[in-house]
Amino acid sequence: MFGKEFNISLALSFLIASLCFFALFMAQSANSFEWSNIALSLDSWESGTCLSLGYLFAYLGIASLMARIEFDSVNQLFGYLILGGLCCFSLLFIFYEAKNSLFVLIGLDQTHDTISSFFEKLIVTTSFFLFSLSSILSIKKLVFINRIRSEIAFWNVFEVFLLILLFRSSLNLNIPALDPCLLAFGTLIMAWLITKVRWVALLNQKKILTLVFLLCIIGLFISFLNVFSNAFIIKEYQDVFILIDEFYLIFPTYITISAFTYVCFSFLATLFNMPISNVIEQKEHDIKGFKELSSLMGQEITGDSLLQSKKRQNWQNALFDRLFDLCLKNTGADGGFLYIEDNSGKYKGGPFYKGVNENKILDILALFKQDVLRFEEIYEAKLKQDHRKSKMPFQFESLYAHSLEFKSAPSKVKGRFAENKKQLGYLFLFKKYPNGFDQYMLRLLRAYIKQALIAIHNAERLDYVIESDRLRNEMKIAQKIQNKLIPELTKEMGHLKVSTYYQPASEVGGDYFDCIYKAPNKQLFVIADVSGKGINAAFHVAKMKGIFQSLTAMDLDLEKILNHCNNSVKACFEKGVFISLIILDVDQKKRTLNWARAGHCPILFWDDAKQKLSELEGPGIGLGITNEVLFKKSSKVQSKQYQENDFFVLYTDGVIEARNNKKEEFGLQRLKNSLIKNKDKNVEILKMGLIEDLNNFRKDETIFDDLSVIIIKSE
């Protein structure tokens, strides 16, 4: 914006101003060295022209200099305040000095006739009122850099006071005690006004220096003016003021004094603020650090898992790099290192160190972890050794170091975050001099680390979400596979009608049932419950199905099937896993049931002739619990005849252990009642009735064990 032309105009302004003043000086020095005689050496209109031009260009010079300096909103306002004042006074001087020359040019009498006196009055009053207005506006903006309710009210009082003053200035009133009252009140308000220099705190050191420099230039300009004013003009100006009635001056004088005091006070405040301005700057810098860390937090990590882990690594390295850099710079540390560990405590972090020999990092840490010595001592001990070898890039004479072990933020998410407070690493910072780290710095370091940890924690949570998403998808696949393990049984097998129900507690379950068609009239039903639930149990179900299908293909009797099953479970399944099972062999021709129980819930048998629902009990230990000998001893195959309309129900314990919100179990009795209620209906209604009763019982309570039911009815 301000190019070469601007620089030229700036230089020209000062040059012309200097020339004008120089011309005056030369004229004066030609006659006498007395400043007071300067007026005598020149015709008044010549000196007037010179002075007015001098003022004009000096003003232009200062104005362009101010425009040249890059102000921001705060000191720009202050600049306007000063510039406004200068502008008005310059206007006054310029017009006043030019007046005589003008009068000569247009042939008017220079004496105070009506026209010139009116003209003078006009210039003076206009300048003053312009000055007042610009000053008030600028001061208002400065005072309200940040608006506070109480200050707004006070400012309103000030404005009202100014109006009263203006009113007083316009009228020649003669009320006793009015002026002293106004004076006292005005002083009070001025005292309040000059304390409102909060904007000074917003300036950084560079801006303060600019401002001080500018004020000095202006001060010089004003003193320069004073030299000339004192020399020969002041008397004439005094004449001007005499022209104006005294009461007119009250308002502009008050404003001038207020503005002048405000400027002086601001100048002092700026000067006193200089030593602490770098503290504020430092704080701004610290906050910037947080912003940088936060912006790293915001980066999204997406993509496939491989790309993601690489991206994650890069991201984490960038974060640690930034963190270390910030900690180092903002504490003014001379050296240090950031050591990142993986879960097993191995060195994982990138090369985040400064002023330390990389090979020494591990030694220092090892000593620190032993917790035998405080870190300062460790490092000093280390230093003595290193001093001899002169391997340290920094030769610390005495040092203080502070270390912060940072741990991942505890989380409310259940799982590994909540359980493990992972140690992520260590941060060590050194300074050449003792007491180098104050409390503020330590707080700042902690805050930075916390911010970085939040970023890592968030990233981990993102990982967790992605991982659980992946698991959910895999669970869906597992569910599909498991659904195929549980067969859809044919609903009609000779005179038997079959209905089944299966509901796992989670995506996959630990229940298993099946039916082997040995012959058109011979079916082998099995129902089993693997201990545990979820994915673990589902795998065991898959194994169990394999074992069972192979054994039944060999056309063995029930006892042998059971024994082999027990041996297989004992051999193939891990310790502590067992299976409860019932095999039911139905011979439709002979209308007989053969069954063997291995720790499973007994079959419920409805004897239609006797109108009685009984449990087909029998001995038997769950598969995989005990050895062959004991198992054989306890297992027993039993038989029973059945008739038309009899039905038998095979179920798993999930049915009777289903709970309601009062923690009551559905129980065997409710199961029996439900079946008896629909005893004359077909199997579908029997099943639906049971499911309905079960659902009514537990209502919204979730099931926590798998439910399986097979109902077989002879029709």
């Binding site: 630990g510 419950d529 693997v530 201990s531 545990g532 639930k533 979820g534 310790k575 502590g576 896993v577 067992f578 409860s580 291995a598 720790g599 499973h600 819930c601 007994p602 001995p619 038997g620 230990i621 769950g622 995989g624 619990i625 005990t626 004991l630 306890s634 314990d653 179990e665 064990d705």
Partner: protein
């Protein structure tokens, strides 16, 4: 689930309170392991305050049964609540582990053997 561990000579006693399911089974597993590591021959499980046991819960005892038996030891359950007892009976656990009414009879039973 609360687990109280006690030692009576060569018997490790576990007093269980609450519900023993897959999640709490891990703690019981640790407690049993601790007893066996200390060289306890027998285990007495006091189930007076055990409200519920799941198959995974039973699995813990089944898993250690052989280890205890190899050491000529026994696992005895005492004062089981009716619901827990019925689960044990259904699975046939009562045929392979000692189930008695109170702790005293459990001790007598174990010392006799």
């Amino acid at each position: 689930m609360k687990i109280k561990s006690e030692n009576i000579e060569n018997i490790g006693v576990l007093r269980l309170e609450g519900e023993l399911d897959a999640s709490t089974a891990i703690d019981v597993d640790k407690a049993i392991k601790l007893h066996l590591e200390k060289g306890k021959k027998h285990l007495i499980i006091d189930g007076a305050k055990l409200d519920y046991i799941s198959s995974a819960g039973i699995g813990v005892f089944v898993a250690y049964l052989e280890a205890v038996q190899e050491n000529n030891g026994k696992i005895a359950f005492c004062a089981l609540t009716p619901s827990v007892l019925s689960v044990f009976q259904m699975l046939g656990i009562d045929q392979i582990m000692t189930i008695v009414d109170d702790e005293q009879s459990a001790k007598t039973n174990l010392f006799e053997s």
